[in-house]
């Protein structure tokens, strides 16, 4: 059973019927009968349609072709609803000739309004998009320009926070800890346990860890010296 849009039906009943039959035939289904079931008022509006035309089709197809057929019907704009069910036996009524359907009985007033609003939305969207993009691009450019400038300004002051990206620090931090734990303890723990055990655990960087491994003497002193140089 297929529920069809009356606006399309009014253009030509046979054309719509053929279109549905073509969809079925496209996926290897054999149409046994295709008949008008009725033109009636819908119990609830669908896409602003208060009335619709029902087409009842009996067809024979493999199970694998049913889902493609459903998808095809789903994508067709003139199909409001469709229902594919298993029919054990085709009733004899299906083979009777179709009742003549006068398309002119469909009233123009009862048709769904044309989607004028959607067009306006599209136009508005097109107008808005470039504006939206422009500031975004400008912002991104400004950010791109500003970032290195800020980086240059701050380069002398705070090189640690900017140079290494976050991912690297996160990835390499545990490795540095492991390396320090494995290498440092005999040298670092002996002179000052309270301070040196706490400090390297907070800010470990692989480079520093390597430096520390090479120069284990006075890591705190090195930091202070660096800070002074930067200032």
């Amino acid at each position: 059973m297929v529920l069809l849009d009356n606006r399309e039906v009014k253009k030509g009943w046979s054309q719509v019927k053929d279109a549905v039959a073509a969809m079925l035939a496209k996926h290897g289904a054999k149409v046994i009968s295709s008949k008008l079931w009725g033109e009636r008022r819908l119990c609830y509006p669908i896409r602003r349609n208060t009335r619709g035309t029902y087409l009842l089709v009996y067809f024979d197809s493999s199970t694998g072709a049913v889902n493609p057929i459903r998808r095809e019907l789903e994508l067709a704009e003139f199909v409001l609803r469709h229902l594919v069910t298993v029919c054990e036996e085709v009733p004899s009524v299906a083979h009777e000739p179709e009742v003549a359907f006068d398309v002119s009985t469909i009233k123009e007033e009862e048709l769904a309004p044309l989607p004028v609003v959607e067009r306006e939305e599209v136009e508005v969207g097109e107008d808005v998009e470039p504006e939206a993009k422009a500031p975004a691009e400008a912002g991104s450019e400004a950010a791109a320009e500003g970032a290195p400038a800020a980086g240059e300004e701050k380069a002398g002051k705070r090189p640690r926070a900017e140079k290494p990206p976050r991912g690297e620090t996160i990835d390499k931090a545990p490795k540095a800890e492991k390396g320090e734990r494995g290498e440092m303890p005999p040298k670092a723990e002996k002179p000052e346990k309270g301070e040196k055990a706490g400090k390297p655990a907070r800010a470990e960087k692989p480079e520093k860890a390597a430096e520390k491994a090479d120069k284990p003497e006075r890591p705190a002193g090195d930091k202070k010296a660096r800070k002074k140089e930067k200032e």
Partner: protein
């Protein structure tokens, strides 16, 4: 309370079959077979099994077997999907 006294009490009350407590039980249920095919296109017949609010009547009211009740429910739901029957109220 012993068994003999219970029987005596019940005997004096004249036990009613299909009384207050067994009205909706297996014994008191009215069983029905569908008179027409339970198909989503058979709207006139399906409309009999829907309340004024559009709700599907229970087995207790329809008297259908489990199998037929499931067929009825599916038919009504399919009809609702195709906007042949309302989800709520009398369409």
């Amino acid at each position: 309370m012993s068994e003999s006294t219970m029987q005596g009490d019940l005997g004096s009350m004249r036990p009613r079959r299909g009384g207050k407590f067994v009205r909706f039980g297996a014994r008191g249920r009215k069983r029905c077979e569908p008179e027409e095919p339970l198909d989503y296109k058979n709207l006139g017949y399906l409309g009999k099994f829907v309340s004024a609010q559009g709700k599907i009547q229970s087995r207790k009211r329809t008297g259908f077997s489990g199998q037929n009740q499931r067929k009825l429910a599916l038919a009504i739901k399919n009809a609702r999907f195709l906007a042949l029957m309302p989800y709520v109220g009398r369409g």
